[in-house]
Symmetry: C2
Subunit: 321 residues, 2 copies
């Protein structure tokens, strides 16, 4: 599903942070003419120079106030831990009617850190594009990153519908399917589908890292499915993920507690040789996979490409075992 | 690396079990003329008929003794839990000089269950091709399954070099890289690279399965990286994996214990907001990924295709987050 914008959706879009997500969005906006002008604020002069070198923005600054003054849309793309300080820079710096949105993986904390610092007349539309790679920095972005992925918006109660619609239009123009829900619901779902799996992947790769050297080398050499997938996940940006876990603490600890209990039960079944219990669980988990495959990997209803995607999924994918 | 056999490596190969691995191997042997004749024994008449329908074997039986009497190579491809009973059927049924090999994911238990039941003059070469998909059954196999994957052989001390060389030649003709090591060492490595990741995947998908219905539906809908990968792993054959955990109990419990400790430490760091500890681990795990990528995904030294593989790996792979 590639949409072509007939006209710019915004006059000026300002990015705060230009990593994988910000630079992918900027590339898409440039490529498809979704805004007339892109400005950005980044932390270091080196990054600022690199951003200009890559042509990701028309203007790049190290001071947030320099970047956002004329913006119709301010897109926050820095790690979650920076939001409180960024919010303070936004106070009194935006023009009336400007929209502030973001791409953070946790939504309640963004609302907590940003919303109170915005002036009256500035609109806030928290958002989360479910897209990424394990790479980071302005060089790692690419304009197709968002194609056929979900974007979740968590509008604040009482906020203007119009602002949320404009942000929706931009993400759709980037190729995404947009859905709205409450921030706490988002945080709970993502705690299960994304944050817990990342935590597990970091842990299992960490456990392997601590093995004696010779064994670790062989683990790398014979790294099989699961483990190799885990190493990719566990190569994700450390700052971003530290902030995710610190900012979605309750939801992560809740699902982690359930996971630990379930794992203990399995460990006990292995120790006591309870094959029936193992078989029962392993049969049950097969069903949820069918659910995902039957859902056409969640896109069949949306686009013709869904078909191809589904058959990829049900087709022959080789793994090691 | 596709090798073409100039002549058959065996006269008759007998398969015991015709699931994903057995039927992939049979297809490869047929396709490349690696044996003059294929026989097999399967458990049910329905499977026997299906195997013949698919042309996977020249002769198919439900009784092991019927299938193996004339075999030069007997390849055991049934779940590990069946080995003891299969071994009993092999006693007195094989011709002198025949080689017995297998494809099981645990090697010490195979040696324990099979070796004592083989007659003098029959050679035993335990093996494990590190290849698979989440699908199972005779329909799921395909001849390219083994291409550019590792096969680990764990020859029993005192066993003939010649037999191990013949099995090596067959796996190489199937496209694999063959390495030999001790069975206990194999079981420890695979416990880390394959068995623990599968156990984790089964657990996390099981935890999601137990969620209240509405939330589970949304977890499926927005299933992101990690979780979606996990569901694929957790769709693997329940019988096979039950047997793996029951038969590699010590190695799995050992690495699971380490993993649990590490996960508890992370959980505590999240609860107490210890960002530095999280950041330190998340930075460390990035390194092991570089190790795998630097190792050219373990194939660059072996083939030209290793290059393409490596750039796949370092290239842009989209994920959800």
């Amino acid at each position: 599903m590639t949409k072509t914008a007939s006209q710019p959706l915004f006059n000026t879009v300002a990015f705060v942070g230009m990593g994988l997500i910000g630079s992918s969005m900027a590339r898409r906006i440039k490529r498809d003419g979704l805004a007339n002008k892109i400005t950005c604020a980044v932390r270091s002069e080196a990054t600022r120079d690199r951003v200009l070198e890559l042509g990701l923005a028309d203007e790049a600054y190290c001071d947030i106030k320099d970047a956002v003054g004329d913006a119709d849309l301010v897109m926050l793309c820095a790690p979650l831990g920076a939001n409180e300080a960024i919010g303070a820079q936004l106070t009194g710096a935006l023009k009336k009617g400007a929209i502030v949105s973001d791409v953070g993986s946790v939504k309640q904390s963004v609302i907590r850190d940003i919303a109170p610092q915005l002036d009256e007349g500035v609109h806030f539309v928290p958002g989360h594009p479910l897209a990424g790679t394990e790479h980071s920095g302005p060089d790692s972005g690419f304009p197709e990153l968002f194609e056929e992925r979900w974007c979740i918006l968590t509008p604040v109660p009482g906020e203007s519908e119009d602002a949320a619609d404009k942000v929706t239009a931009l993400w759709e123009a980037c190729g995404m399917y947009v859905e709205r829900m409450d921030a706490d619901h988002h945080d709970r779902i993502l705690g299960i589908t994304s944050h817990l799996p990342h935590l597990i992947a970091y842990t299992i790769v960490g456990t392997a890292t601590d093995l004696e050297d010779a064994l670790r080398q062989e683990v790398i050499k014979f790294s099989a499915t699961g483990f190799r997938d885990f190493t990719r996940i566990a190569a994700s940006d450390p700052t971003m993920w530290r902030d995710v876990f610190l900012n979605n603490r309750e939801a992560v600890l809740d699902v982690l507690g359930r996971f630990q209990e379930d794992l203990m039960a399995l460990q006990r079944a292995i120790r006591w040789g309870e094959g029936d219990k193992l078989f029962e669980l392993f049969s049950r988990t097969r069903e949820i996979r069918r659910g995902i495959v039957d859902a056409g990997q969640y896109f069949a209803n949306f686009s013709a490409e869904g078909e191809a995607r589904q058959s990829d999924e049900t087709g022959k994918k080789k793994t090691d075992e």
